[in-house]
Structure formats: structure tokens, C-alpha cells
């Protein structure tokens, strides 16, 4: 009997040997035939270039359009006063009425790191690691893209994961930089990039990145100008929080031989090729976004010829043929109520993230603050307006516009409001500015600043994210507060929304990191707490 059992088990053993000898193909079977490993992308430095391009595309996610809608549109584009949605999302209790929706806001955070619809930090960190020694010029461009993308994120949330990205703390958390630290790191990164690019500015472009760069075709000179302007933008951003640092960084930007952006052709535009601008989809196809009331008030008040370039007249019978905006955060019962107010004009397939006009207005403010190398505030201010007019092929009317010292923002009346009068900003309202266009050197600092920022606000349209940041920093242009505030007391109506809270997903997956990040805020993690630079 023992003999039999032994044989049975030897049989099993034999089967086992036969069965276990064929795992040699497993690696091949388990390699995704529809993906590509890093090694497979080595030809033509494809991996580096593709990752750089991926980050460039993800500063402002443009595909699919609903990500744009959540990342930018139902946030900065509205908080800046540029636009307003006629759609009463979630029973009219949403970001626009200060009930901050985590499911939306997470899209302002995720693509900055890595997501299915965009990634910045993740590819950039790979590029940084592989290019620093081998291709320093690409390393420099990667740094610039990173700062451009991440300052926008910091300006939304405050603290961000930046210098300690991918570094796991002892307790498992991923630590944030406080906004102050983040800005210090932005300047360091920009400085590092500028140092690399400055001597290269007379050469043409990087061969590897030439065809993949969606903004400047790899041009060293342009990237350097962009980096300098960005440095100036960030310097002014912190001017209240750390005036000395602001001045030092701003003057360094102004002193660089590469210069700033100066003509409309220098604009930092991400060219999105055959893809339609997502705002066109949100505006035309979905009817989810319309002109904002402050746009109507300021542009019609100023008789600004850019109005027709930015918007189309309303089709609603009540206001047909007029430019009619919707006031932010109002009572809306149905989308049909305001859908026929002024829609946005069609955008070309370019994502405009920095204009030369902005560079002039930055310079004007720097001059106002007496920074070395900024030149005359008036000249800069007028050059800003002219550059913007040139951008829209309106150079014929710029002289008259600059000379206008009468026009002021117009009162705003809403003929379709649910409760009569609730949305109106009548003449004499404290929310209605009396600013004019024409520069007057005799004006006080604050009025000059309002004038510069108001014109900058007009010229950088439709980049609501940047416009909202500057509104928070300076209080200009004067915007209209929300009518309906569903924040549950977290956000003050008259003080406007100051930031967006860190989405719940981060609390869930990175509790320790978030805890330390929130401790760096000046208040609770909600939309009413001011950022570090927002004094």
C-alpha cells in the first residue's frame, strides 16, 4: 500500500514539474501591448519632450472641456468678474454662490500634479531629473513651466506641494510648502532658469524641443522674456507680504538683459492646434457661461472697442442687441432666464496665459512703486493699452481711448432679476467705481494703481485666474459682491471669496501633510481665509 501511495505522489510531482516550467513568457505576457515603457520612448528624446509638452498643456487643461470648466471657468473666470454662468448648478448652491464644491475644485488641484486629464508636477519632476546635467536648456524651460503652472495653484489654495514633492515624511504624509516658502522657491527656480537661459538668448532654439514646444517653438529669447515677466508678476504679487523681497526680485527681472515681453507677438500662448478652445464649447455648445456684469459695466462705460472682440450682443428679447452681462452669485431659477444674455466671442485655438500688455502694466506698477529699471509709469501704462489694442487689431482707436478722461464704469441694471432691484448696481453705489482711463500723474497712488489694474484686468481677458489673483491683491477693478451667499457664513459677501479650501480627497489620502499645510494658513481652511500675499 505504501508503495502505491508513493507512486501516486510521484505522479503528482511529475505533473508539478511539467506544469511549473513555462513561466518564462510571463514578463512578455504582462507587458501592456497598448502602452509604452520609458525605454521604448528613447528615440529622438521622445520621453523628455513628450513630458515637457504634457506639462505645458496641463497648465490650463483644455481637453476635455468639462475639466476646463471645473479647473478654471467656474472659479477664477467668474470670481474675476469676467464671466458668470446662467446655469443654476446644484440648485444654485455652488462655487458661484460660495458653496464650494469639492467635486469641482479637485480639478483645480489634480492636473497640477497628475490626473487622467493633465499632469504638471509629475512629468516635470521626471524631466528635471533627466535633463539637469544633460540638457540644461530644457531643464530651464521645465522650471519655468513649473513655476507658471504652480503659482496659479498656490494662488487658489495657498500652500502647495512643491519643493517636497514626491518626498514622503516620516509619518507618511506629503508636505506642503507654505505659500511664502512656495514663492521663495518659485523665485529660486526662475532664477536658476534665467541664469541658464541668459547666455543662450542670442542662439535660436533647442533642436529637440523646437517642434514640440507649443508656445515659443523652443526660442531661448522668448522663454527668457517670459521668465523675466513671470518673475516680475510674482514679485508684485508679494509686494504687500514681503516688500523687500518683492523689490529685489522685481528689479532683478527688470535688469535682465533678456528683457520682458513687449509686443503682442511675444504673448505666452499655448497653441492647441486643431482642438477648439474649451471656452467655445462651454459657451456655445453648452451655454454654461456668459458675460459678467463688471465686464458690461466697465467696457460699456469706457466705450471700450475691445467689447465687440470679447463678447457678442445679447439675444434675449428684453435686452436684444445690447451687451448684457450677468451679475455674479445671483438668484437663478432656470438656465433659460439668463442664457440669452451676452455670450463670449469665439476664441482662437490658443490658451493665452501671459500677454505683453500685462508686462507693460506690471512695469507701470513697478514704476509706481519706484523700482529701478521700470521707467515711467505713464509710458508703461499707455504702452500696455496700446499693446492690448494692437493684439486685437484696434490700433486705430487707441489714441482716442487713452485720451478719454470722462468715461467711467456704467451702472448695471438687470431687467430679468427675480426680485426687482436685487441685482442692480445703480449710480452712486459704493460698488461702482469712478475710475477713468486717461493717466493723470497728479492722482494719488491708490487711484493710479486702480487705473493700472483696471486696464490690466481688461487686457488679460480671458485669464480669469490671474485677474482674480490681482483683484484679491489690490481690490481692483471694483467688482460687485454676490447676491446669494450659500457659504454658511464661511465667506464674507462684502470681502469676497479669498481662496478655495483644500479638497477632501487630499484630507483623505494625505491627512498628515494637509494638517501641517493648513497650520500655515492665517485662518481656517475655507474660502474666507486670506492667502499669505493677500494682506
Amino acid at each position: 500500500m505504501k508503495n502505491n501511495i508513493a507512486k501516486i505522489f510521484s505522479s503528482i510531482a511529475a505533473v508539478a514539474i511539467i506544469g511549473s516550467s513555462c513561466t518564462k513568457n510571463f514578463k512578455e505576457i504582462n507587458s501592456n501591448p497598448y502602452g509604452a515603457t520609458n525605454d521604448q520612448l528613447s528615440a529622438d528624446y521622445a520621453l523628455v519632450v513628450a513630458q515637457l509638452q504634457e506639462a505645458e498643456k496641463s497648465i490650463y487643461v483644455y481637453q476635455p472641456a468639462w475639466v476646463t470648466q471645473l479647473q478654471q471657468n467656474l472659479m477664477g473666470d467668474v470670481y474675476s468678474g469676467y464671466m458668470m454662468s446662467p446655469t443654476p448648478f446644484r440648485g444654485n448652491s455652488n462655487n458661484l454662490t460660495y458653496d464650494l464644491v469639492d467635486g469641482w475644485n479637485v480639478w483645480a488641484l489634480d492636473p497640477a500634479y497628475s490626473s487622467a486629464s493633465g499632469s504638471v508636477m509629475s512629468p516635470i519632476s521626471n524631466v528635471e531629473a533627466t535633463t539637469k546635467a544633460a540638457v540644461p536648456d530644457l531643464y530651464a524651460m521645465a522650471k519655468i513651466i513649473k513655476v507658471e503652472a504652480m503659482h496659479r495653484v498656490s494662488d487658489i489654495f495657498g500652500p502647495i506641494m512643491y519643493s517636497k514633492y514626491k518626498t514622503r515624511a516620516d509619518d507618511g504624509g506629503y508636505d506642503y510648502d507654505s505659500q511664502q516658502d512656495a514663492y521663495t522657491n518659485f523665485f529660486n527656480d526662475l532664477n536658476e532658469a534665467i541664469t541658464i537661459l541668459t547666455p543662450l538668448r542670442t542662439q535660436a532654439s533647442n533642436d529637440i524641443f523646437k517642434n514640440a514646444d507649443l508656445a515659443y517653438g523652443g526660442s531661448y529669447a522668448k522663454w527668457l522674456q517670459f521668465a523675466n515677466t513671470l518673475r516680475l508678476r510674482l514679485a508684485l504679487r508679494i509686494v504687500k507680504a514681503d516688500p523687500a523681497k518683492a523689490k529685489a526680485e522685481g528689479e532683478a527681472a527688470l535688469a535682465n538683459p533678456g528683457g520682458l515681453l513687449s509686443a503682442a507677438a511675444d504673448n505666452f500662448n499655448v497653441n492647441i492646434g486643431a482642438t477648439d478652445h474649451p471656452l467655445n464649447t462651454i459657451n456655445n455648445a453648452w451655454g454654461d457661461i456668459r458675460m459678467g456684469a463688471p465686464m458690461e459695466s466697465i467696457l460699456t462705460g469706457f466705450n471700450d472697442p475691445r467689447l465687440a472682440k470679447y463678447f457678442v450682443p445679447a439675444t434675449d428679447a428684453v435686452v436684444a442687441g445690447k451687451y448684457k452681462g450677468i451679475r455674479n452669485g445671483i438668484n437663478i431659477d432656470a438656465k433659460s432666464r439668463y442664457q440669452s444674455y451676452s455670450a463670449l466671442a469665439t476664441f482662437p485655438s490658443k490658451i493665452q496665459l501671459m500677454t505683453a500688455a500685462e508686462a507693460w502694466f506690471l512695469k507701470a506698477e513697478a514704476a509706481l512703486r519706484g523700482w529701478t529699471g521700470a521707467g515711467s509709469a505713464q509710458t508703461d501704462y499707455e504702452s500696455g493699452i496700446t499693446t492690448s489694442f494692437n493684439q486685437y487689431a484696434l490700433s486705430d482707436s487707441v489714441k482716442k481711448y487713452i485720451a478719454d478722461d470722462i468715461s467711467q464704469p456704467a451702472p448695471y441694471l438687470d431687467p430679468k432679476e427675480i426680485t426687482p432691484g436685487e441685482n442692480d448696481i445703480k449710480t452712486g453705489s459704493p460698488w461702482l467705481s469712478t475710475i477713468t482711463i486717461k493717466w493723470d500723474d497728479g492722482d494719488a497712488f491708490e487711484r493710479k494703481l486702480e487705473r493700472i489694474i483696471t486696464q490690466k484686468w481688461i487686457s488679460i481677458y480671458p485669464d480669469g485666474q490671474e485677474a482674480w489673483s490681482e483683484f484679491r491683491r489690490t481690490g481692483y477693478p471694483k467688482l460687485f459682491p454676490v447676491v446669494v451667499n450659500t457659504s454658511g457664513g464661511k465667506i464674507s459677501t462684502t470681502a469676497f471669496i479669498r481662496r478655495i479650501n483644500i479638497p477632501a480627497d487630499e484630507y483623505l489620502t494625505n491627512p498628515q501633510g494637509v494638517k501641517r499645510a493648513v497650520a500655515t494658513l492665517s485662518g481656517p481652511d475655507n474660502g474666507g481665509t486670506r492667502l499669505w500675499w493677500d494682506k
Partner: protein, 1145 residues
């Protein structure tokens, strides 16, 4: 041939002797050469033994007052000879006392029947005894006696019909087998002997007398081994020896009230099984859960056809409230692409056995961690050729409608809501649905002799849905050939199943591309009939465009994404799904010796799935571009399977039986998908739906994906039996999965094992007379699961010509390891009162650990998703079934059985460092989320809650308007327990069956109701308006109490909608329904050609005895893991009634 079958039974091989072993060696080796050539395998089998026996052994016996059966058993045991006898012989036999030494079998038998003469014949290795007819005068008749047609019915020990039992006229080749109702008819002469046999039962012999209508009961095998059960790998085992729970469903139970997807017919019939059909109507897939949910990947059991795993690949399913599939970033139109199970023809299924626990299925390894559903298909049978025809025609109507209002009008012109003035509008909803029809026809041919049997069937299904234009058609072919070669030693079993399906406009769920949204939400007061002309000629575009109250291109009306003209969707947003499924298998089996055999099997399962959506220009702009939208999705899936199994069955010592199976298998899966979606990129020309007309831009969705997985295994199982009273089961298996390549487990694979023990208590200790059988069983198993293909080597993605960097990878660089599920099971089976009352009870507990998750990574980690083995989910529960023959009186019988299931699920741990929470369906911008949360249960529903005061009352503003609070836990959709109550009543030629099915507990959400309320079209909103508003007792945010009535529109637009306060839309999921009812009549036939005619009136889902939710909570929006317990405009469940007719030729 029945006797030969009998000889092969394990019982006969007991007691081989050394001498006979030596004699048989030479023969075995000779045969072996053939086997080697055949399989090039098993060189190691050099010396094996067997025992050949003839009758003539002697018996030594000493028993006192022993039942005759027991004596037979002992004689069999000592001699290895089977004793075949008719049950009637033992009727009235008194216990005997025998004390003999070395006497012949006949001598012993003589002592058993002291006062009764009997015949004693030796046939092969069996001894046949039968009573001698009482001496009757023999009249010699010269003329040949015309044959009589003998009809009969064969029943098992429970009085249930046995289908496929063999009936043969002894000494002739004349034979037949019983049909699904256990009936047969055969021509025989008076005095002939009919041999009735069925595997697992004692054969009986009947002498043809004057009675031409016989009812014959077969008893379980004389050795009391009981019925045979098909277990893992197709191994047949005696039910008695099993140490785990199984349940079998016969063909009759599947086909009486037929369902297009045979798995739906298991609903309510098997304890431990929870079935949720997809809300997509006909031919839709089903979600099947055995013993609870454990994983975020596959929770459904493995399906096995005739021992070979079938690829029931999960296909496309909706993944969000809109009904889209494809996950984030993809707006692919959501759909249920059906499943492979729906391609099976219920008529071809002999039986379905459900192996519930991991112990039962450990032999299948990774794939079977969730249990196994074993499908045994029909075989041809030796005997007369036979043709079976069945046809089934049912009409379907919605079982319920949403409760809507027609008394209040649209709020104002162009407004989407109906919060306007009073006025009446006609009900446009009910007339929209049409009467559905389903017609299933099957023609089956069987023929065969002892050596070769053939089964062929063809069936077709034609269905017209309750949704206009929705159609489903299917053709199924099944060919099975079983043959024996080389002296009947090599048996070959070949099976080919082919089916082809086409579904036009299979209804979709969710807010997009769903005709029901526009239908239900249509503003009251407008004329719905006006929009039956769903298109108009547009001057602007020189083509026909959508005509809907708020969608009109020429008038610049774009409408909203959640509704379109329902008729436009049906005619201009058409979808066609096609599915071809081929399953072919070949099994070779060869006995090496009498007790050892080898089997080799191979199968190929190939599945083609093709789906196209054609949305014409002017489809609502969120859903399609200016020129329309074209989605093309083609899936090819292949599963190759092969195994070789060595099986043995012998005794190791006196009273100690031993059987084993050892083998190796390979399972190779491949899936390739070509997916194109023009959305975002548009078509070049309007309304041309070809791949060539796609605009090539980065927005064009070109997403080829695939899957590869190869699992190689070795396994062994053994059963040790002591005196047929105690059994010990041991199983071991090791899997090597390609998905663990690049990890340390690549070479070592991962093991499984299980152990089980049972005792037949009723044989071990003396039991009172009313207890016929008692068994207690325990088992333990550890099974695992591999990880997702390709997850160990993350790659960059290139889709639509766009690069995407690696965003997913193993958690903190750790290597992925296999899942680990441990399950314990204890059960008991009892039969009382002459086997009339049977009881089966099981308790189980499963701990599943190290599940593979794709966890949301902290953004700072550098990845967006982590692949990680984490988690500890516990399921425990009970399953019970009780069956009772309430009435057995002549031609009247009533059998009643009750199944009870209860499963409790607990998420004990889930990666606390990543928040301890996994979102199966992400909330996104909607207020429904399905989660696995540490401390909660699998699939908890989360949503927006009311803001509440500390005393629990809701918080309102100064006007009484409720305030939305945080996201929180709202309920779990899994029922607390399930019950199915089956009744079969037979009165003469009538058979009535009724199945009442109840699910108790659980909570579900209705987004349908939430949206209807928001729009002011639900009846409840009209009632509220009639009552002057909604009464609220609440607390003010500003402090103090608030009590009063707020306007209905304020209330419902606040709580309603997909993003409202969804807490308000949770409902108790308890429901009880009359699931199946049939009244069958056996038409007496005098025809010689047509036999066994039966006509039945059948009904399915006839009515709810209790239902609290506004929809059928059993429906599932997705048969994947997500979207459970939620209804978003799903098609109502249908009530089916019809006729079924079957007959044999």
C-alpha cells in the same frame, strides 16, 4: 448497459487481492502504450494495480436483526459485487439474522428472502435479483403478441421527476430515456423486463404486466452513496462525501418560466445567491453575488461549462449617474453590453450546480474565489432517436410606472420645470411604452447507441422590448457528441456551442441618451404628440434636425444635456450591439486501470462584441458634436483552457476508501478592444457614420486597450472515506499567474488549499425512525486571486496620438502580491419523515485580505493612482433551505421549499494611511457615491445629508428652506436577508409552480425621483401643491425653532435633483414579489408520433406583494461593482405573461 454502468461504480472495486493485482499488470502496461501515444504523458505510471472480479467469492457474515439492505451492502463490500434489485422486493421485508461463514452470495441472498422465491442472475460484476412472479398459469399463445406501449414516470426519492433516466427492455437494444418531466414511453411485450437506471440511483427492474402507466421511484444507490454531484473540474462525486455546500437546479426549474438569461432563472431558487439583473432590459447582463462582496474587481462567480471555465468577461457598463462608461476623461455613451451567459440556451442545460464557498471551488484557483456556477449541458443518450420541441411566447408590460403629475403646467414658457399654474395635460407616458413580446423556440435532436450519442439543438429568440424600436434577436446552436473508442475504453466528448446576438437600441440607464428623461420631464401643458415628429427640415442646414420643445437649431435653442426628444433618441441616436460567442471543448478520458483513469481536456471560447452608436447632427450638443457622433467599439476576447487530470479511486484498507485527482491546467485569456469615439473632434461630414469620416484631431478618442493573462496551475485533491460514514477532503493547488510577472511571486506562484470533514451522523449513531439521514460538515479553504494585468509594469499611455506620462504604479514601490481569502464553513443536512422533510443549513465566514485596489494616491506621491494590496473584508452569513412534501396522495402532490440567505459584510481594514476609504463610484459633481469605508460595509451609499441641529432636526434658513450639509453615509443596498419560497402542486395532469421571492432590508437611492421632484413632474409634488406646500418642523440656523409650510417648489428644488440633498431620496429596499407562476397541463396524447405534450401558462414578475421604493430595487444600473442601489431613469421591470408548449417526437 445500465448494468455495465453499475459495474463501474466505485463500490465494486473494494477488496482486491494481491494475486489479481499481479495478473493485471501486463494488461495495464500494454494499454498504457496507447495512452502514452495519446497524451504523451504520464511516463511515471509504471506499476499500477487493479482488481478484476467475477462472482463466486464467498461471504462471511454475522448480523442480528439487520435490514436486508444492510446485508446487501456488506455482501457487496466483501465481494466487490454489485447487487441489483428492485425496490419493491424489499417492501415488507423484515430484518434478518444471519450467521454464516464462507458461503456463496446466493446462499446469503436465500437467507434474506426466506419465504420468497427469486431469480438470481450474474451479469458482469453484478448480481441481479428479482422476485419470481407468483406462480401463474402459463398460457401458451401461438400468435405473436402485439407490443404494448408502456408509459411511465420516474421519480427520485423526493418524488421529483428524474430526467434522463434510462429505460431499457432487458435483453434487447430497445431503450429510451425520460424527458424533463421524468416521463418515458416504450414498446414492450407483457412479461418483458424493463431496466430503469439512473446514475447515482439503484437500478430497478420491472416486469411488464397489465399496468401500462407506471410510476416508478428510484432509490438512492443501494450503497447509499447518494446522488452524484458535479464538483469542481467536472469531477462527479457522491453528495454524501461532500464537505461543503452545493445546490443544484434542474432543467425543469430553468425552463418552466423561461428567461433569456438562464442565470435570472436561479433567482430565489438557491440559498446564498443574490442576483441583480441589469436595468437594460432584454438580453442584459446580470450581477451575481455568492456570499457577499469582497473585492473591487471581480465579485461574480466563475462560470463553468461541463467542467471547463467559460469566459464571462465583464464588458462595458455605465460608471456614473449620467450613464457614461469608460471612466474619467471618457464620455463614451454608457451601455450594458450584455454578458456571455445570455448567449446560453436554457433548454440545452441539463442542470446548474452552484458551488457556493471557496472550499467547493478551491480547485479552480484564483478565478473561483467567489464561488462557481457549474453548468452541465445535455448529452445525447443511447436509445431511440428523439426530437424535442419547445416554444415559449410571452408578452411584457411595465410592472410599474413612476408616479407622475399632469395637473400643474410648465413654470413659464421655455422653462424646463413644471412649477406653473394648474391645468390638466394628458398622460403621455403610459402610451409611450409598447407591449413587448418574447418568443423562444427550441428544437433538439438526440440519438445514439451504446458507443456514440449525439445531441443537437437549435434555438432562436425574438424579442421586442417595451421601449419602442428596442429589439433583440438570438440564434443558438449546440452540438454535442459523446463516443467511445478502443473497446469502449477511450471516451471522447466534444461540444460546440455557438450563438449570435443582435440588440437594437438596448435601453440605456442614466441621464444621457435615455428616452425616459425627456419623456418623464416633458413640461406639462405642452403637446407631446407634436413631438412625435421628432425631426423637421432645417433650411439652415439642408437636412432633417431634431424637433424638441427646447432643442431647435434654427431657433438657436440648445436645450439641456439631460433630455432630448425620446423619439429622436430612438431613431437618430441608434445603437446596435452584436455579439458572437463560440465555445468548443473536447474531453478525452481513458481508464488506465480499473481504478485509475486519465483525462485531458481543451477548450476555446471566443467572443466577438461589436457596438456602434450613431447620433445624428442636432443631437443635444453635450452628447454629440455639430455633425453628430459616431462610437465604434469592437472587442475580441479569447479564452483557451486545457487540463490533464489523473483520477484514482480505491481502498487503502478495510473500510478506508481513497480517491484522488491530480492534474495541471493552463488558462490563457486575451482581450483586445478597438475604441473610437468622435466626440470632441466631430465628424468631417454630417451623418456619415464610418471610421473614415472621423476628424483626425487630438480630441478624437482612439483608445485601443487590451488584456493578457495566463495562469498555469497544478492541483491535487483527495478524499478519504471511512466506512462511508466519515469523509476527509484535502485540496491543494498552486497557481502561477502572468500578472505577477516582475514581482517575487513570478516564479513561485501562490498556493491554495482546503480541507473538509464530514460525518454521516445517521449512520454513525442510532437515530429515531423519523430521521432518515443526518450529516454534519466542516470545511476550511484558503484561496487567492492575482492582480490586474500589466499593473506590475506601468507604462506611458499613447492614445489619440497624445502622450500621457505614467501616473499609476505600485504603492510606494512595493511589489504586488496575490489576494488571500480564507473561508470557514460549517453545515448540516437532514432528512426526516421518510425523506419528506429535508433541511440544509450552512454557516460561513470569509476573510478576504490583500485585495488588489487602484487607490487614489496622495497627489504628492508623484502618481495619481496606487496599485496596492490592502484591505480586510469579512463576510459571514447563513444559508438554509427547507423542503417538505406537504402532500403525497395518489395523483396529487404538493412540494414546498424555502431558501433563506443572510450575509453580513464588514470592512475591517482598508489602508488607513490612505484614508481608509475607496470610492467605487465617485461622486464627482453628483451627490451619490458608492464606497468601501473602513468600519462600514462593502458598497455603502454616501450622499449629501441635511444640515441638522444637535437634536437631530433639520436646519433651515429663516424662510424654512432646508440646508444641505456634509456628505455622509446614507445606507447600504445589500438586503439583510433574502428568501425564496417555491411551491409545486401536481393534480392529475396539472402542474402548478409558484415562486415568491422576498428581499428584506437594505436601502437604495432614487435619482429618478429626485429629478422628477426637482422638475415638478412627480405626483408627490402635485400633492404637495394641492396641500399648500410642504410642512416642516425644523430648527433655524439663526437659532430657534421653525415650524410651518414652505412652498412645494422651494422644498423640492432644494432637496431634488442629481446634486440635491440625496439623503431625502433613500428608500427601504424591502420587496416581495410573485416572481414565477406557471400552470402546466399535460395533454393526453393518443398519437404514436407525438408524445409528452405539455402546455403551460407562465408568468414572471407578476406583482409586488410589498415594495417601498419608487422602482424595483432589485434592478442594478450596472452589473459591475459600481452604481449599486441607485436608480437613474432605468427602464421599469417588465411583467411577462405567456404560453409555453413542449412536445417530443
Amino acid at each position: 448497459m445500465q448494468l455495465t454502468a453499475n459495474v463501474r461504480r466505485p463500490g465494486k472495486n473494494r477488496g482486491f487481492r494481491g494475486g489479481s493485482m499481479l495478473r493485471s499488470i501486463g494488461r495495464s502496461e500494454h494499454k498504457l502504450l496507447k495512452v502514452m501515444k495519446l497524451t504523451a504523458f504520464l511516463l511515471f505510471v509504471t506499476c499500477l494495480h487493479a482488481a478484476a472480479h467475477t462472482s463466486g467469492q464467498t461471504v462471511t457474515l454475522s448480523v442480528k436483526n439487520a435490514p436486508v439492505r444492510k446485508v446487501f451492502k456488506e455482501v457487496s463490500r466483501q465481494t466487490g459485487v454489485s447487487i441489483v434489485y428492485s425496490e419493491s422486493m424489499l417492501e415488507g421485508q423484515k430484518p434478518v439474522t444471519i450467521n454464516v461463514k464462507n458461503v456463496t452470495i446466493k446462499d446469503v441472498l436465500q437467507l434474506c428472502f426466506p419465504n420468497q422465491p427469486f431469480d438470481f442472475t450474474v451479469q458482469g460484476n453484478a448480481v441481479v435479483i428479482k422476485a419470481k412472479p407468483a406462480a401463474t398459469p402459463v398460457t401458451k399463445v401461438e400468435v405473436p403478441i402485439p407490443p404494448l406501449e408502456i408509459k411511465g414516470r420516474i421519480l427520485n426519492e423526493k418524488g421529483e421527476p428524474i430526467s434522463g433516466a434510462n429505460v431499457q427492455v432487458k435483453g434487447t437494444r430497445k431503450g429510451t430515456s425520460t424527458n424533463a418531466n421524468g416521463e418515458f414511453s416504450i414498446e414492450a411485450q407483457k412479461g418483458d423486463v424493463l431496466i430503469i437506471s439512473y446514475v447515482g440511483y439503484t437500478s430497478r427492474q420491472m416486469i411488464v404486466g397489465d399496468d401500462k402507466n407506471l410510476t416508478i421511484s428510484l432509490a438512492l444507490n443501494s450503497q447509499q452513496l447518494g446522488e452524484l454531484v458535479v464538483t469542481a473540474l467536472g469531477i462527479q462525486r457522491h453528495a454524501k462525501s461532500l464537505t461543503y455546500s452545493t445546490q443544484k437546479v434542474s432543467n425543469a426549474e430553468l425552463t418552466t418560466v423561461k428567461n433569456l438569461n438562464p442565470i435570472n432563472s436561479l433567482n430565489g431558487k438557491v440559498a446564498g445567491l443574490q442576483i441583480n439583473p441589469s436595468a437594460s432590459g432584454v438580453g442584459g447582463s446580470v450581477r451575481v453575488i455568492l456570499r457577499g462582496q469582497k473585492s473591487t474587481r471581480e465579485n461574480q462567480p466563475l462560470y463553468v461549462i461541463d467542467g471547463v471555465p467559460m469566459a464571462n468577461f465583464s464588458g462595458a457598463q455605465p460608471t456614473n449617474v449620467w450613464g457614461e462608461s469608460g471612466g474619467t476623461g471618457s464620455t463614451a455613451a454608457g451601455r450594458d453590453d450584455g454578458d456571455v451567459l445570455s448567449t446560453l440556451n436554457p433548454e440545452d442545460i441539463e442542470s446548474i450546480t452552484v458551488l457556493k464557498g471557496a472550499s467547493a471551488s478551491a480547485l479552480y484557483g484564483s478565478q473561483a474565489g467567489n464561488g462557481v456556477i457549474m453548468i452541465t449541458t445535455k448529452k445525447g443518450r443511447a436509445g431511440a432517436a428523439k426530437v424535442d420541441f419547445s416554444t415559449n411566447f410571452t408578452v411584457d408590460r411595465p410592472m410599474y410606472y413612476p408616479k407622475l403629475q399632469y395637473d400643474y403646467q410648465q413654470t413659464s414658457a421655455d422653462n424646463i420645470y413644471s412649477w406653473g399654474a394648474k391645468g390638466s395635460s394628458p398622460d403621455h407616458v403610459k402610451p409611450f411604452f409598447q407591449t413587448g413580446t418574447t418568443w423562444i423556440n427550441t428544437l433538439a435532436f438526440t440519438a445514439g447507441n451504446d458507443r456514440a450519442q449525439t445531441y443537437f439543438s437549435y434555438s432562436n429568440t425574438t424579442n421586442r422590448g417595451i421601449m419602442p424600436t428596442s429589439e433583440f434577436g438570438q440564434h443558438t446552436f449546440n452540438f454535442r457528441q459523446t463516443s467511445k473508442f478502443f473497446n469502449d475504453k477511450l471516451s471522447v466528448d466534444a461540444n460546440v456551442l455557438f450563438s449570435t446576438q443582435k440588440a437594437n437600441n438596448r435601453p440605456s440607464t442614466g441621464l444621457y441618451f435615455n428616452p425616459l428623461t425627456g419623456l418623464y420631464l416633458f413640461p406639462r401643458g405642452l403637446d407631446f404628440n407634436q413631438y412625435k415628429d421628432y425631426e423637421y427640415y432645417s433650411n439652415k442646414r439642408n437636412t432633417m434636425l431634431q424637433n424638441w420643445w427646447n432643442i431647435n437649431y434654427d431657433k438657436d435653442e440648445t436645450g439641456a444635456d439631460n433630455q432630448q426628444n425620446p423619439y429622436w433618441i430612438l431613431h437618430r441616436n441608434t445603437n446596435v450591439g452584436k455579439k458572437d460567442n463560440l465555445f468548443a471543448s473536447l474531453t478525452l478520458k481513458y481508464p488506465i486501470t480499473k481504478w485509475l483513469s486519465i483525462q485531458a481536456r481543451g477548450s476555446v471560447n471566443r467572443n466577438y462584441d461589436n457596438y456602434e452608436l450613431k447620433a445624428y447632427a442636432s443631437t443635444q450638443i453635450t452628447l454629440a458634436d455639430f455633425n453628430g457622433r459616431y462610437v465604434y467599439d469592437k472587442l475580441t476576447r479569447t479564452l483557451l483552457y486545457g487540463d490533464v487530470i489523473l483520477s484514482g479511486n480505491t481502498t487503502l484498507a478495510k473500510k478506508l476508501s481513497f480517491s484522488f485527482n491530480a492534474g495541471t491546467s493552463i488558462n490563457d485569456q486575451k482581450q483586445d478592444r478597438e475604441f473610437f469615439d468622435s466626440k470632441g473632434s466631430d465628424l468631417r461630414f454630417a451623418n456619415i457614420f464610418t471610421l473614415g469620416n472621423l476628424n483626425l484631431s487630438p480630441a478624437l478618442m482612439v483608445q485601443p486597450t487590451g488584456l493578457r493573462r495566463q495562469v498555469q496551475s497544478i492541483f491535487a485533491t483527495t478524499t478519504l472515506g471511512y466506512d462511508e460514514k466519515i469523509y476527509l477532503d484535502l485540496t491543494a493547488r498552486n497557481d502561477w499567474s502572468s500578472t505577477l510577472a516582475f514581482t517575487p511571486k513570478e516564479k513561485s506562484g501562490y498556493p491554495y488549499y482546503s480541507a473538509g470533514l464530514n460525518t454521516i451522523v445517521s449512520d454513525l449513531v442510532h437515530m429515531p425512525d423519523f430521521i432518515n439521514y443526518g450529516k454534519v460538515r466542516f470545511s476550511y479553504a484558503k484561496v487567492g486571486n492575482d492582480v490586474e494585468p500589466f499593473s506590475t509594469l506601468p507604462t506611458n499611455t499613447i492614445q489619440s496620438g497624445t502622450y500621457g506620462s505614467i501616473q499609476m504604479g505600485p504603492y510606494l514601490g512595493s511589489y504586488l502580491k496575490p489576494e488571500d481569502a480564507r473561508s470557514y464553513e460549517a453545515g448540516t443536512e437532514w432528512r426526516f419523515l421518510n425523506n419528506r422533510l429535508t433541511l440544509d443549513f450552512t454557516w460561513y465566514k470569509t476573510d478576504t485580505k490583500n485585495q488588489y485596489f487602484e487607490f487614489g494616491a496622495p497627489l504628492g506621491s508623484g502618481l495619481s493612482r496606487f496599485f496596492v494590496n490592502a484591505g480586510d473584508i469579512e463576510n459571514h452569513g447563513i444559508e438554509a433551505s427547507i423542503s417538505y412534501d406537504v402532500l403525497r396522495r395518489g395523483d396529487t402532490k404538493w412540494t414546498s421549499s424555502l431558501n433563506l440567505t443572510r450575509n453580513k459584510n464588514k470592512v475591517k481594514q482598508l489602508l488607513p494611511e490612505l484614508g481608509g476609504q475607496y470610492e467605487i463610484t465617485q461622486a464627482g459633481v453628483n451627490n451619490y457615491s458608492l464606497r468601501i469605508h473602513e468600519g462600514g460595509a462593502y458598497g455603502d451609499i454616501y450622499g449629501k445629508k441635511f444640515m441638522r441641529a444637535p437634536d437631530g432636526s433639520i436646519l433651515v434658513d429663516d424662510n424654512g428652506k432646508p440646508q444641505g450639509g456634509d456628505f455622509g453615509f446614507l445606507g447600504n443596498p445589500t438586503p439583510d436577508f433574502l428568501a425564496g419560497w417555491n411551491n409545486t402542486v401536481e393534480i392529475n395532469n396539472f402542474v402548478i409552480t409558484a415562486l415568491i421571492d422576498g428581499r428584506f432590508g437594505g436601502k437604495v437611492m432614487s435619482i429618478t425621483q429626485a429629478v422628477l421632484d426637482e422638475y415638478g413632474v412627480s405626483k408627490i409634488t402635485a400633492d404637495a401643491r394641492n396641500n399648500g406646500g410642504v410642512k416642516i418642523d425644523a430648527t433655524k440656523i439663526s437659532g430657534g425653532k421653525w415650524s410651518g409650510t414652505i412652498p412645494a417648489d422651494v422644498f423640492y428644488t432644494t432637496v431634488g435633483g442629481r446634486a440635491g440633498i440625496t439623503e431625502y431620496y433613500m428608500y427601504d429596499a424591502t420587496n416581495i414579489r410573485l416572481r414565477e407562476l406557471s400552470v402546466g397541463y399535460k395533454i393526453p396524447s393518443t398519437s404514436k408520433v407525438i408524445r409528452d405534450m405539455r402546455l403551460s401558462l407562465v408568468g414572471r414578475n407578476l406583482f409586488f406583494i410589498k415594495k417601498n421604493a419608487p422602482y424595483d430595487p432589485e434592478l442594478s444600473m450596472s452589473t459591475g461593482n459600481g452604481l449599486q442601489g441607485i436608480d437613474v431613469f432605468s427602464l421599469p421591470t417588465t411583467r411577462s405573461m405567456g404560453l409555453s408548449f413542449r412536445c417530443s417526437f
